[in-house]
Amino acid sequence: MSRAINKLPKGWDGLTSDFSSDQKAFKGMSWGKAMMWIFILSDTFIFSCFLISYLTGRASTTASWPDASIVFELEVFGTSVPLLLIAIMTFILISSSGTMAIAVKYGYEKNRKLCAIFLLLTALGGAAFVSMQAFEWTKLIFHEGVRPWDNPFGAVQFGSFFFMITGFHGTHVTVGVIFLLIMARKTWRGDFDKGRRGYFTTMKSDYVAIEIMGLYWHFVDLVWVFIFAFFYLW
């Protein structure tokens, strides 16, 4: 990238000239970041398939759908509060997205220690989220008797959609936490400042890796926004 990015046309002219040029379409963007965006796009297709099957399954069944605010209520000091745990999980995941955005900022400013600390905070939020989800699953499976084929609240499809959608999202969060911890270690050790080669890739990396990690993590938060709206509130 020897050509200065600001000399290229911007806006709609930029769109056509970027795509009609015979080199790379995504100017000034590392291939890793472009590929993470493409991966995220394909992942939205998978989650959209879940969303479509859930919404059509729910709308087309003649049985009554379980009321989420009763299924997911939590008893606190003798009074039951609807959706309390889900609300707390939502706030925790949003907060971990906030710390991730700040970690990306500190990474690009080459503030090695603060970047690693905020990555660790993000991983902590993700781990708390997964733990609370494990608690939720345990409660539903062992105390309420919810199964993918049956549940005591209403339409039988509820269980299969619940485990499929939250399970797939929880897997994404778990994978994210593992990679956040790896990135935090690499950042703290100063891999991106010294150009130390990666264990698997054997390539030198840079703080753009933190932004790529951030894209994935924000996407996990983004999916939860849709799950929270359509599965828990609808």
């Binding site: 949003i94 997205s97 955005a101």
Partner: protein, 110 residues
């Protein structure tokens, strides 16, 4: 990624992230209140979708920096996502027909 090493990247002030963080908290709190205060019918669904799309837009535009990216990547991402949402809407509309046929054949007996 070697050619990007030690490239100067312009960063934003921390305030913008804290602001978005706060806004996401406010929108989530409002969404939770929709359920807590038992809003019903089309008011409930409109508000849920409104807060959901606002939160999604803030995360994608600011946290994922898409607002500052070039139009090439922005268009590659947003058009397929828009079409997916349209597809969701079409399939939900279709499911009402499935429900009607089920009521007709399963409950009313054809």
């Amino acid at each position: 990624m070697a050619q990007y090493r030690n490239k100067k990247v312009k960063t934003h002030k921390i305030g913008i992230y804290l602001w978005i963080w706060g806004l996401l908290f406010v929108f989530s709190f409002f969404s939770y209140m929709i359920d807590y205060l038992n809003f019903e019918g089309s008011l409930r669904w409109t508000l849920i979708v409104l807060f959901m799309l606002s939160k999604a837009a803030l995360i994608v535009a600011i946290f994922m920096h898409l607002f500052w990216e070039r139009y090439a990547i922005v268009n590659v991402l947003l058009w397929p996502m828009t079409l997916m949402l349209l597809f969701v809407w079409i399939m939900v509309a279709e499911s009402e027909y499935t429900l009607l046929t089920r009521i007709f054949y399963f409950i009313l007996g054809g």
